[in-house]
Amino acid sequence: MNGIFTAPLVRERRIVVCVGAGGVGKTTTAAALGVAAAVAGRRSLLLTIDPANRLASSLGLPELGGVAAPVSLAPLNLRAGGALDAMRLDTRATFDGLIQRLAPSPDAAEAIRANRLYENVASRLAASESYMAVEKLYELATEDPPDLIVLDTPPTKHALDFLDAPQRILDVLNSRALAILQNPARALTRGGSRLPQFVLATILRALEQFTGLTLMRDIADFVRAFDGMIDSLRARAESVQRLLRAPSTVFLLVTAPNTVGVGRTEAFYRTLEEAAVPCAGLIVNRVLPRSLFDRGLLPPEPASMPQLPAGLADKLIRTFKDFQSAAADEYAAIEQLRERLALGERLAEVPAFPGDLASLEDVARFARILMDGDGEDFGPTGARGSSWM
């Protein structure tokens, strides 16, 4: 009965943020939620980080770009008004746009973009991607927003890596760093060192000569270039944080029963709670299908069973035992999570697809499973059912 938990989110919220570790199917989950919202008659937008080519093509797009493109959901029965757009986060372009928007002058923006450290900060720091994901979300949510935005996020081990990203980037650019670079000796003495200033100044000058560190000067220039816009960046980051904690926003923690341990999923969830982020619950992907493994099947007694070609019975039994014990571990892990986090109905399970999601039909099937029990009509795709479930 996944739908009890997921359907209201897709119908009523304005923003759904999918978070979780890497390799748990976050992007697919986000796509399926977007499809489900469209089927329910909402204008939805999917913002993904780095989708599989196949996901893009399953959404009928040659590739996902940095600009929202409409997805044709023609085979599905959409309720009136339902539509889905999809786009991919372009970290660098979003960063450029932010600089353009907040720099005090075009010259200031140019100075930043010309600095050779900018490339590193804008494209290479892991935190930048998270920062730009929420920045883009903010842009989309404040300028002609659709009914629902589904945000897929970069994989992070800690929930806070994602939430703290803007702060961490801003710390890099803050005035404290500026102070030390403009007058390192004074900043160092203030920082707790008891050495006389002139001693430190001498050491640092020697150090700079010795090391040939033009790096220090580069950082200083870079930080200075940002100086004029730090306040507006910070103000904007605060607005973003408020948006993430708004009542119309909801976070979903996506996990898989085998990739990430129970302990780590639990820790991730609790961190979200502590950060006062409204986490609606858990989506557990890639669960070994209960229709196959949770039906009280016992190992067969070959003696009492019809004869099979030589060796086949043994292999069937072996396969059964291998998967059965793996499945039992998975189900136990899920119950543990449900209990420890007091999730009750706020946990949705999606069975492992044996192959990949290759078509819109597959994404729609995923969506249908997520909304299961909700009675939503997904049209011919949904009605067809499948051979393995």
Partner: protein, 333 residues
């Protein structure tokens, strides 16, 4: 992205040279089993009598649990079993080590390290953390046994970070040299680059699971490491490949259910599920092979809750066998 033929690769090493290199770096997408495979590689080498150090790079790593240790790993290597030690690379210790090496006067080093501003600057400078991590690895590589010229560790296996974070690590010397082209720091960066690009000492293993995203990432990463960073690359590794247990006849029977009595049908349905997975697995392996022009090394799926010292046996065996087969020779062209 244009497909390249195998001949386009200049830095590929054949197979998995597990027994005669000094540094093995395991990387790949998140969730593909890097730490389990790194552990199995370390075990395979240790079992062969190589003194091995297994290094974890993240504070959220799982190695201590896998190794059955009661306390989390720390910066100082700790003995796990015969020929095997493990540790967790601590960026702060790496920084301290670095500053101490830089400033012979202890009180100066302390003053610098004690300053919050200094730490802010270090955090601000892009790539510094990665640079320091690599520096620490290089120091372990250089360590010698007491009273001997033989290395303290014959092999260092690094459970590196997921792709997004390990590129900065492996590219740290390049990044650094772009910013600081001359001076002693640049010399150090060149030394680190010499270590990671030295095909007689180092090899990078790119790991994937037989899934769309993991394979895409492995292909991109493999190309990037080869073409941009010129790192010596082992054959790509595909982890968690389901065993092929069915004959063609059996596959046909299971596939369409003919000749399967109803009593057996629930069990055949499970086999069908496995077959469908296997089909997807094979298509991903073919895609990886076609894109990189080399057969990947496939490791078996292990039906166990978590891979620990106790359950890693099949992986250790597979890795040891692959390493032996490779003949440990550097491909020459």
């Amino acid at each position: 992205m244009t497909p390249r033929s195998a001949q386009g690769y200049e830095n590929r090493v054949s197979g998995l040279p597990l027994f005669d290199r000094r540094l093995i770096i395991v990387t790949g997408k998140g969730g593909v089993g890097k730490s389990a495979i790194a552990m199995a590689m370390a075990l395979a080498a240790a079992t062969r009598g190589r003194r091995t150090l297994l290094v974890e790079l993240t504070s959220t790593g799982t190695l201590s649990e896998r190794l059955g240790l009661s306390r989390p790993l720390r910066g100082q290597p700790r003995r796990v079993r015969s020929n095997l030690a493990a540790c967790r690379l601590d960026p702060r210790e790496a920084l301290e080590d670095f500053v101490r090496g830089l400033m012979p006067l202890k009180f100066l080093a302390r003053a610098l390290l004690g300053s919050r501003s200094f730490r802010t600057v270090v955090a601000a400078a892009p790539g510094i953390d990665e640079f320091l991590a690599l520096y620490r690895l290089a120091r372990w590589e250089e360590e010698r046994r007491r009273g001997s010229r033989r290395p303290r560790y014959d092999l260092i296996v690094v459970d590196a970070l997921a792709t997004g974070h390990s590129l900065p690590l492996l590219g740290a010397p390049e990044t650094f040299l772009r910013m600081v082209p001359v001076g002693p720091f640049a010399d150090l960066a060149r030394r680190l680059r010499a270590l990671v690009t030295d095909r007689t000492r180092t090899v990078v293993a790119v790991l994937a699971t037989p899934e769309e995203m993991a394979v895409n990432e492995a292909i991109d990463l493999h190309r990037y490491l080869d073409q941009e960073l010129k790192l010596p690359l082992a054959a790509p590794i595909v982890n968690a490949v389901l065993p092929r247990r069915w004959s063609r006849d059996e596959e046909a029977m299971i596939g369409n259910g003919t000749g399967i009595p109803p009593e057996w049908e629930p069990y055949a349905a499970i086999a069908r599920f496995e077959l469908a997975r296997q089909l997807a697995t094979q298509s991903h392996i073919s895609r990886l092979r076609a894109s990189l022009g080399t057969p990947p090394l496939c490791l078996p799926y292990v039906f166990a809750k978590t891979l620990t010292l106790a359950t890693a046996g099949p992986l250790v065996d597979a890795l040891a066998a692959a390493a032996t087969e490779a003949g440990d020779s550097v491909e020459t062209r």
